[in-house]
Subunit: 331 residues, 2 copies
C-alpha cells in the first residue's frame, strides 16, 4: 500500500476545504522506550513499539489555508525556499492531501520551544500539520487515524497527536493500519524533564540515516526488538504504579541500548561528545550519592534528565543551565 | 571437572621440581577479536573464540624456586603481602601445583612494560608463571597444555604463551580440554600498535566483573557471540592477505561492539572517559582525511592504535604521547 492509498482510505475522496483556515497545536515528545528501526521506510512502520511522554505546551502551532499559485511555507516567521530539504519533504507530504494538483497551501508553523533545547521538531511539526489539515478539511478524524496520518510524515509524529504518556503500537500488517499511537490513561503531575544542551550543531548523521545503518549493519541490533519489548512492559508497570526508580532506570537503560546499537554500526555512529560522557558520569555519581535522577538521550549529543518535582532544587543546583519541562503542567 | 583435576590430567602425579629454579618470559597481548563472556567461571571457559597479537619483548619475566616456610612473592621488586588481592589469587593458583601441602614457592615477577601503558598484566603474568613452572618441574609440556594451564589463572593468559598472532578456540566440552590457544603461522612485520593512555587510575569495575554483569543483564549481548565469530573469520582473512584496512576496521568494530554490550548492561558499565571519546573522534576525523589508522580498546579508558610502519611519522605527529609497540620486532 502506498502513502496515497492510506490517505484515501482514511480521509475518503479528495474534497475542497470547508473552512477558510485550519489551526492546531501539537506537543513535542520524548521517548522513554525509543523508536529505533523501520520495517517499512515508505510508510514509517517501526520494528518495535515505543512509549513517550508529550511535553505539554512545548510544541508546534500550525495554521493552514489555501494559496494561489504555489505552496507558501513559513517556519518561525521565516519564509522557506521550495528547494530547501525541509520544504521539499513538506511539499511531498502536502501532495498527499491536495484536492487537485492545482490546489496550493499556505502554511505557517511556529515552534514555541527554544531551538537551543535540542528537541526534535518533526514530531510536533507533522502532528500539528495533520491536526490543522483535519480542521481545515473538517474531516473530524479520530485519534487513531490522525496518528497514522502523522506517522506518514515522521514516525515519532504518530505519538505527538496526544498529550501525556503515549504508546505507539508497532503493528504487524503491511499497510500499517494497526501501527498507531494511543494515549495512556495515567497522569503523573510530579514528573519532570530537563534538557541539558551539549551542542546546537546539526547532527552529522540524521536519525533516519543512523537508524537505517544500524538495522543494516549492527549484529547487536538483532536483540534490540526483544530489549524494547521488555522495556516497554516495565515502563507500563512503572507508570501504572508511579514507581519512579523503575521508570527512570528502564528509560536510561533503553536509551543506552539504542546508542549501543549505533556504536555497533559499521562505520560506527557515535552521537556522544566528550561532554555527553561527562554528564552521564555526573548523573551516575549523583545517583551513587543517593540522588534520584535518570536520563534519556536521543540520536544526538544532548541529555534529557528525568526526575520528580521535590528534587527540582537539587537539579537546579547541579545543572544550572538545564531547561526544565513540566509535561503535565497546564494540561 | 575442577581446576585441580585439569592440572593432574595434564602434568601427571605431583612430583618434586627437577631444577633449582625455573625461569620464563611471556609477552603481553592485545585482542583484535575480544574475549568477552565466560560459559564457565571456574575454568575460565569463554563464550566466544578470540584472536590477539602478542607484544614481542613487552611482557613478564618470572623466576620460581622453592621457599622454606611460606610463599614468598615479589612483583617488580616489591614484596607482596599474603593478604593482598593479587597475592591471594596467585597463592590459589600455586596451590594447584604444589608437590605437597608443605611445599612453598619463591616467585619473582617483573613486568618490563611501563605501567603507564595500561596493558593488562594478568595475561603475561600467568603465562610466564606456567612457563616458569614447566621449566622448574621439567614437565616439557606442549603449547596446547601450557595454554590450558595458563587459562586456569586468567582467560587471556591462554593466548600469551605464544608470540605473533594467536587464536584461542572457545571449545565446547565441559572440561575445557578443547579450549586452548594456538599461534597462527602468519607474520606481519609492518604492523604497529600505539597505546594512548587516558587514565592510570584503577578501573572502577574489573574486567572480570564487567564481563559477568554483561552476560547476566545485557539483552544485546545475546548477539555478541555471532558478531565475534564473524569478526574472527574476517580477521583471519585480513591476516592471511595482509589486508590492513580489513584488519583495522574489524578490530575497531569488534572492540566497539564489546563496549556496546557493556553500555547495555544494568547498571551500565561505561569504561570511557570524555577524553576517550575525544580520541575516537580524532581518529575518525583523520580517517576521513585519508589517513590509515584504526583503534581497539579493552575494558578500560585507554585506546590502542593500529597502523602500519610507513605511517609512523603521521602517528607521532598527531599523538606525540603514544607508546609505540612493534609486536614482531626482534622475534
Amino acid at each position: 500500500m502506498t502513502k496515497q492509498q492510506v490517505v484515501q482510505k482514511l480521509t475518503g475522496a479528495p474534497r475542497a476545504p470547508r473552512k477558510t483556515f485550519g489551526k492546531a497545536f501539537a506537543p513535542s515528545n520524548i521517548a522513554l522506550c525509543k523508536y529505533w528501526g523501520k520495517r517499512n521506510a515508505e510508510l514509517n512502520l517501526p520494528i518495535n513499539s515505543s512509549l513517550s511522554i508529550s511535553l505539554g505546551h512545548l510544541g508546534t502551532e500550525t495554521v493552514i489555508s489555501q494559496n494561489e499559485s504555489s505552496d507558501d511555507m513559513w517556519l518561525n516567521d521565516r519564509h522557506l525556499d521550495a528547494d530547501e530539504t525541509f520544504a521539499k519533504r513538506l511539499i511531498a507530504y502536502l501532495n498527499l492531501f491536495r484536492p487537485s494538483p492545482d490546489f496550493f497551501f499556505k502554511i505557517s508553523t511556529t515552534n514555541n520551544f527554544p531551538t537551543a533545547a535540542g528537541l526534535a521538531s518533526s514530531a510536533s511539526g507533522y502532528a500539528a500539520l495533520i491536526l490543522a489539515l483535519d480542521d481545515f478539511f473538517d474531516w473530524n478524524l479520530e485519534g487513531k487515524a490522525l496518528s497514522i496520518l502523522a506517522r506518514l510524515g515522521s514516525g515519532s509524529a504518530s505519538r505527538s497527536v496526544y498529550q501525556g504518556f503515549v504508546q505507539w503500537y508497532r503493528g504487524a500488517s503491511d499497510d500499517g493500519m494497526d501501527s498507531y499511537a494511543e494515549q495512556l490513561p495515567e497522569v503523573w503531575p510530579e514528573l519532570r524533564l530537563a534538557v541539558l544542551t551539549v551542542s546546537h550543531a546539526t547532527k552529522p548523521v540524521s536519525s533516519t540515516e543512523g537508524m537505517q545503518k544500524t538495522v543494516e549493519t549492527s549484529t547487536l541490533y538483532k536483540s534490540w526488538p526483544e530489549k524494547a519489548e521488555r522495556d516497554l512492559d516495565l515502563l507500563r508497570t512503572a507508570i501504572q504504579y508511579k514507581y519512579f526508580e523503575q521508570l527512570g532506570s528502564v528509560a536510561e537503560s533503553n536509551a543506552l541500548a539504542m546508542h549501543a546499537t549505533m556504536i555497533d554500526t559499521s562505520p560506527p555512529v557515535l552521537y556522544w561528545l566528550p561532554e555527553t560522557v561527562a554528564i552521564f558520569r555526573k548523573i551516575w555519581h549523583l545517583r551513587r550519592q543517593g540522588e534520584q535522577l535518570y536520563f534519556t538521550i536521543d540520536a544526538g549529543p544532548n541529555v534529557k534528565l528525568l526526575y520528580e518535582k521535590p528534587d527540582e532544587k537539587m537539579i537546579q543546583n547541579h545543572f544550572p543551565h538545564a531547561e526544565i519541562i513540566n509535561p503535565f503542567g497546564g494540561i
